[in-house]
């Protein structure tokens, strides 16, 4: 049945799932296709974000569902589990997708094709948007789209989503795929597929309906969530049969997971040997910058300089704007209270609304400044280098390298610092950073500390006038905050 037929009685839009590795420009492609017609929600029962958009095509409209970025369908995290559920049609209000759009990074095709190889085996109509063609070109990578289309058995559309190049061709390809759906025939691990089919039949006779694809995943993945879910839903006997099958399928010298990975990369390497040519020039200056930035001495010095700049910016550059907003709030409050008679209404407006909104908006300058820096650092790729340098130190406190910038910013103000934890991919790391951020003494506490110290700590100096006792106590208060994070980490060492 043609899903785009304009049968007014059943006006149901077809659904296209969008998948891809993290950082391939999936969101950019999604936005280019849907424009403003999108909304963000959660998948039921899990804290995984879902973005749903509406796409206008030549012959009708379609729903676009953005799935979390992932490297493979091995469901080892809630994100990947949800993606699997969507692709297998297990999310009630979405149903089975009518097509899957894979967004791939043309400059990194080898790694990107791993996920593609798994998607192509699902039996759904697929097409590939080859994004970041400009980056590939600048790195001297040439790709044969024709060859890729032949091997992947689907349409491959080169795009540069950030410049909206190729989006029109992508739209037409999506339209064609929906009107003439054709699923690729690919089975890279036929032995596993067969075993899964046999097991599924066996389970059905036991009265348990288990999808063969779930069985495949449960067999291949180590510590996967699919196996856990099957064990919980279908009982220990199912799990036992699966381990037996696994032992039989396992090759003598490697696990099923290793065999699966190896098989896929052999397939990928065969394709790319023909479809991709690289000329190793032009990596030149990027590599030179890298060497400077990651150099143990120079890199660390540069890193300290950059962090000092960010800290200084959030701490002091925002001050005039903060003062301005403060003054504005006060003047507005006074003006309004002069116009209104004293009483509950005046109090509601002045002390409630104006003061309330004002006390939130006053954080805006610091949040904006920090956001600008984070965007700059992330887009130049420096964020990854900074995380690389700081990872070991941060792990000492049970955090990861990516937590460094949020934690540093929290010395200025914890509000933008916590908002900056968005960049941390791992949900546990993110939560740990959010909990640890307020321990970093923020600038708002300084007046309180100063007051208490001048009241209770004698104005003595040590080391012949070089160190002041009051200054040391202030430093001590800062260090106690940092120590608190370490204590927190030690006390919950079981989790880390």
């Amino acid at each position: 049945m043609d899903p785009l037929s304009s049968n007014r009685a059943e006006l149901k839009r077809p659904t296209i799932a969008v998948v891809g590795n993290p950082n391939v420009g999936k969101s950019t492609v999604f936005n280019a296709l849907t424009g403003l017609r999108q909304k963000v929600a959660n998948y039921p029962g899990v804290t995984v974000e879902r973005r749903l958009g509406i796409l206008s095509l030549d012959h009708g409209e379609a729903h676009l569902v953005d799935l979390p970025g992932m490297y493979s369908l091995s469901a080892q995290s809630p994100d990947e589990m949800v993606a699997l559920d969507v692709l297998l049609g297990r999310i009630p209000d979405l149903g089975t997708p009518d097509a899957v759009l894979i967004v791939a990074d043309a400059s990194n095709l080898r790694r990107n094709l791993f996920l593609a190889s798994q998607i192509l085996e699902l039996g759904l109509p697929v097409l590939v948007a080859l994004n970041m063609m400009d980056v590939a070109r600048s790195r001297g990578i040439a790709l044969s789209v024709k060859h890729l289309e032949h091997e992947l058995q689907c349409a491959v559309i080169p795009v540069v989503a950030s410049r909206s190049e190729g989006i029109g061709a992508l739209r037409s390809a999506l339209d064609r795929t929906l009107r003439h759906p054709r699923a690729p025939r690919l089975a890279l691990m036929p032995a596993v597929k067969e075993a899964a089919g046999t097991l599924a039949d066996g389970f059905r006779q036991l009265g348990r309906a288990i999808v063969p694809h779930d069985i495949e995943r449960a067999l291949i993945d180590e510590g996967g969530l699919v196996l856990e879910r099957l064990r919980a839903a279908a009982g220990a006997e199912v799990a036992e049969r699966l381990s037996e099958a696994r032992a039989v399928l396992g090759f003598a010298t490697e696990s099923l997971a290793a065999a699966d990975a190896r098989c896929r990369y052999e397939w990928i390497n065969r394709i790319l040997a023909q479809a991709e040519t690289r000329s190793d020039r032009l990596r030149g200056w990027s590599d030179r910058v890298d060497r400077l930035v990651s150099h143990p001495l120079l890199g660390t010095a540069l890193f300290l300089g950059v962090m000092a700049l960010v800290f200084q910016a959030v701490f002091s550059w925002a001050t005039p704007m903060v003062d301005g907003i403060d003054a504005l709030t006060r003047h507005l409050g006074e003006f309004v209270s002069r116009q209104l008679p004293e009483g509950a209404l005046a109090s509601l407006i002045v002390d409630g609304m104006i003061a309330g909104v004002g006390s939130v908006v006053v954080f805006l300058p610091q949040i904006l400044i920090l956001s600008v820096f984070i965007i700059l650092l992330e887009d130049t790729g420096y964020m990854a280098r900074a995380a690389f340098l700081m990872d070991r130190l941060m792990r000492f406190c049970g955090l990861s390298g990516q937590s460094f910038i949020p934690m540093l910013s929290s010395f200025a103000c914890a509000v933008p610092g916590i908002m900056a934890t968005r960049v941390i991919a791992d949900p546990r790391d993110r939560l740990a950073t959010i909990l640890a951020a307020p321990f970093m003494t923020c600038s708002a506490r300084l007046p309180v500390y100063t007051l208490l110290i001048s009241a209770f700590v004698p104005d003595k100096s040590l080391a012949y006038g070089l160190l002041s006792l009051q200054g040391l106590v202030l430093l001590g208060l800062y260090l106690i905050g940092i120590l608190g994070v370490w204590v927190l980490r030690c006390s919950s060492s079981a989790r880390f």
Binding site: Y71, S72, S74, Q76, N108, R110, R111, F114, D221, E222, G223, G224, A247, G250, F251, A252, T253, E254, S255, A257, A258, A261, R262, Y265, R278, S294, P296, G299, T300, A384, F388, L389, D391, R392, L393, R395, G401
Partner: protein
């Protein structure tokens, strides 16, 4: 799981090199993975399969994490993760 015990016996006897033992600039070929868990699977799915050629690019100041180049792209690994990858030197 016979293949696991096989692997463990091998790594005990033959002084096998892991990714963590390499120095900057050295090239190596992946032989296999010493562990068989979710993390190992993730690393293999990123390209560190048996037979893959890689170059050890650099280590962070504290020696951890490390950066390697495999299949033409950069990958950063913690030392604990690198210790799981068995390699053999290539000229």
């Amino acid at each position: 799981m016979s293949h696991l015990s096989n692997r463990k016996a091998q790594s005990a006897s033959a002084q096998e090199r892991t990714l963590a033992d390499l120095k900057p600039g050295q090239r190596a070929r992946v032989v296999g993975c010493a562990e068989s868990n979710a993390l190992a699977q993730r690393i293999m799915q990123l390209g560190l399969i048996a037979g893959a050629m890689l170059t050890f690019v650099r280590a962070a100041p504290a020696g951890d994490p490390i950066e390697i180049n495999v299949f033409g792209y950069s990958l950063s690994l913690r030392k604990s993760e690198a210790r799981m990858i068995l390699v053999e030197d290539v000229a």
